[in-house]
Symmetry: C2
Subunit: 473 residues, 2 copies
């Protein structure tokens, strides 16, 4: 990220009175980027170059102090481990800008950036160590069961009692959020930033169109140059009763306008899906459809929308009273596998009740569940695919099959538990056959260089998979 | 059952050449009943009186030997424990003819009557002791995986090699079957007799219309006077590719014509349902709809067809290779509870592989599973309902509720496992509250005489239910 810092006007209301843009160019492509006021007379324009070499820039503003500033810089090679923002790749999957495959194995901690430093530090550390590579997190503070504490910072000056001045922002609020996004980037974790959500007691869920627009524009200008940002226009958009589809489309257009770097964009449902055929939506961010089935629809949703399917909420491992938040680790892991072999990405979440009301799902702080290490094991199995991903394959009715046809195929048995299975190996080669216990995280080679129909003995336990890996042609 | 035995013609082909009927009357209602040839010059007419008192009868036949025979008998009170045939009651439920509530808690042993005596004896004994009160069983022998043994008896004279004479029957075959139906009756178990099925290597699944008609007519005349008979026109009717809806309707009409006693009638699907709105169908006999959901549709199917819903196959507890036959006991029990609180009846089945290939599902012989005793526990919970049945009640989205509104309500949590639940008790009275562990079969009283909203603590385990029983008004 290149950041241009300028001194400029601070009188009046700089947030609304002054407009600042910069045009960056590598000599071939101009890129127009919006700047923002960061308080104390400081103005910034953040830029994420997408090519090495010399770049120039020139500013334009209705403030003479900020107008016509020019400069140049050289973009060097990417730092080790830095692969650039994540894009859609191969229609149903993802890759970083440098082509490195990215498999979303994420979790959710909605309000972790709004907690005290003790919790934030623990969350950062756990995320860095956990094997998760994405976290869904709300820009705005959250009010909900188990979320009664007041945040230290608010996006606007003011208070609930005296009212918020939504024409201004508190830069400290955004700096805090940015620090956390940056910390995630350092750990290789994507920040799926939720711009709007319904869990509110401060009025932020119903600011009106003008204030919504200002907030989204300001936020995107601040954050878009962070490589690891994704935009989730809303969480449970359908619970934000005061907003219509026209509002969502207008906000999405602002995101597109203010993000010249093309980060991923989604909108997450509670009940009915948003129309994911809208061109601005890069991938499906799905929520559980009913008590029993969700991940099982992954392949149908791929067909329906022709986009990657990320099941961002299929229920949480935990024990709270809400029906979406008291799955066993086994059931959550089962859903992750179901989605994986159907060519999608089911994400983790955890909601164990504790006396401090510090549930990972919202405040971060600590993971207690049994699924994370097993989800990491799933990730390792997917990563061994020769294409780096799994796509749905023709399946028996009772056991979805996914992978790369004739090369790397996974058959997943879920809660069923056969004692054996007759498997017709793909034609045109020989296969090594593994029995994978997805819960106990073991892989047993049961046949090598096999062809034709084979009998694969299984332990009559739940959560088993069979893997076929091409051995020869 | 009153049985009229007559000596009559045995020359030619008595099965097709001679017609025999008898009209029974209690002086108010004539009942016309078909007779049948039982071999060796013996003819029988079986009658199930539905009222105590004096009955007369007179025969009619195209054989002078069998024509114009008359007689009388007195029907005494029902024997202890004998409640008469099962009928539909309260639209979605069942009761015996004497009004005694009947809750179907059945199992399946398709081909048990076609096995050797050792297996049949074991099956009879286990059924008598198991707590099941219905068994689905095929009239005809079964050919399928784990069903390779030849039966001792066949319905027709002949052989596969030499062909079957489908214009004649082997009375010994039917007597064997009747003996087993009678043994079930003595144990208080309903015999859900499957007239047609597709699991065949003898040609019985494709006899042609004329032979089908003769077989069904003969079978119904023999069996209809047994109080515990139900008619399942077919199992997996849609796998009998040579039969059309017109065939099923014609066979159903023969059943109705030849059964003056009005036994229950159904037709069971593999994939798509038969049109259960047909008037002759007394109840829905449903099969699993997909890997994940079936029992969960019970309340919808009640709405759709306005008839009792019996999920005769929602998968089997077992460990065979077929996806329908390797459920855990937990999952089968979960399905039974799901169906129960939604106002229906999910039936048991078991398919554990063993070296003898004697799987309960088909041959009977022995139960190995963990679900039967727990299904019996469910039955006891349902039987405590003040109406004797459960009907679906307004439910939270994540936990179906069923019972008798404001009197006896069960909330079932399935694979979810909350640590507690806030429950608004029904208005207008006070309630005793029990936490039921449906797997461990325990009932813990957690509140007595409670009103208003209460917090019910739960053990954060799967397969729990909460029961509300009215304590006072």
């Amino acid at each position: 990220m290149f950041e241009l810092e300028l001194s400029g006007p601070s009188e009046g209301n700089p947030f609304t009175d002054v407009e600042l843009h910069a045009e960056f160019s590598d000599g071939q492509r101009p890129v127009r980027v919006g700047g923002f006021y960061d308080g104390d007379g400081i103005w910034r324009v953040r830029f994420m170059p997408d090519a090495e070499g010399a770049w120039t820039f020139a500013t334009a503003s209705n403030s003479p102090d900020l107008h016509g500033r020019t400069g140049r810089f050289t973009c060097g090679p990417a730092a080790a481990g830095s692969h650039g923002p994540v894009r859609v790749a191969d229609r149903f999957h993802f890759a970083h800008a440098d082509g490195t495959r990215y498999l979303p194995f994420g979790t959710t901690a909605y309000a972790w950036t709004h907690q005290v430093e003790r919790l934030r530090e623990a969350t950062r550390r756990i995320l860095a160590e956990s094997g998760f590579n994405k976290v869904r997190m709300c820009l705005l503070p959250k009010s909900y069961q188990y979320n009664d504490n007041e945040p230290e910072l608010f996006p606007f000056p003011g208070s609930v009692e005296d009212g918020w001045d939504t024409t201004r922002f508190d830069p400290a609020f955004f700096r805090r959020f940015e620090e956390e996004v940056l910390a995630l980037r350092e750990s290789g974790i994507e920040a799926d930033v939720i711009l709007c959500h319904p869990y509110d007691r401060w009025g932020f869920a119903d600011l009106g169109a003008a204030a919504d627009d200002r907030l989204v524009r300001y936020t995107v200008r601040r954050l878009a140059a962070f490589a690891n940002v994704w935009w989730a226009t809303a969480n449970e958009y359908d619970l934000l009763g005061s907003k219509t589809e026209a509002d969502w489309e207008r906000l999405a257009a602002i995101v597109a306008e203010e993000d010249p770097f093309g980060h991923l964009r989604s909108i997450h449902n509670c009940g009915p899906f948003y129309d994911h055929s809208k061109p601005w939506i890069t991938h499906v961010s799905a929520q559980r459809q009913d008590v029993y089935r969700t991940a099982e629809y992954t392949d149908q949703w791929r067909e329906r929308w022709g986009k990657p399917v990320v099941v961002d909420e299929c229920g949480y491992e935990g024990d709270i009273d809400w029906g979406w938040g008291n799955l066993t680790g086994e059931e959550l892991l089962r859903r992750c596998w179901e989605g994986a072999v159907r060519g999608g990405y089911v994400q983790h979440g955890e909601t164990y009740v504790n006396d401090a009301e510090e549930l990972w799902w919202s405040k971060g702080g600590g993971l207690l569940g049994s699924s994370p290490e097993r989800i990491a094991f799933l990730r390792a199995v997917v990563e061994r695919s020769p294409t780096g991903v799994l796509d749905p394959l023709e399946s028996d009715w009772d056991a979805p099959r996914g992978g790369v046809a004739g090369e790397y195929e996974l058959i997943y048995f879920g809660f069923n538990r056969p004692r054996f299975r007759m498997i017709d190996l793909p034609e045109g080669g020989s296969f090594d056959v593994d029995v994978i216990d997805t819960w106990n995280m073991t892989v047993d080679r049961v046949a090598e260089d096999a062809t034709g129909e084979i009998r694969v003995d299984l332990p009559a336990r739940q959560y088993m998979a069979v893997r076929l890996t091409r051995a020869s042609r």
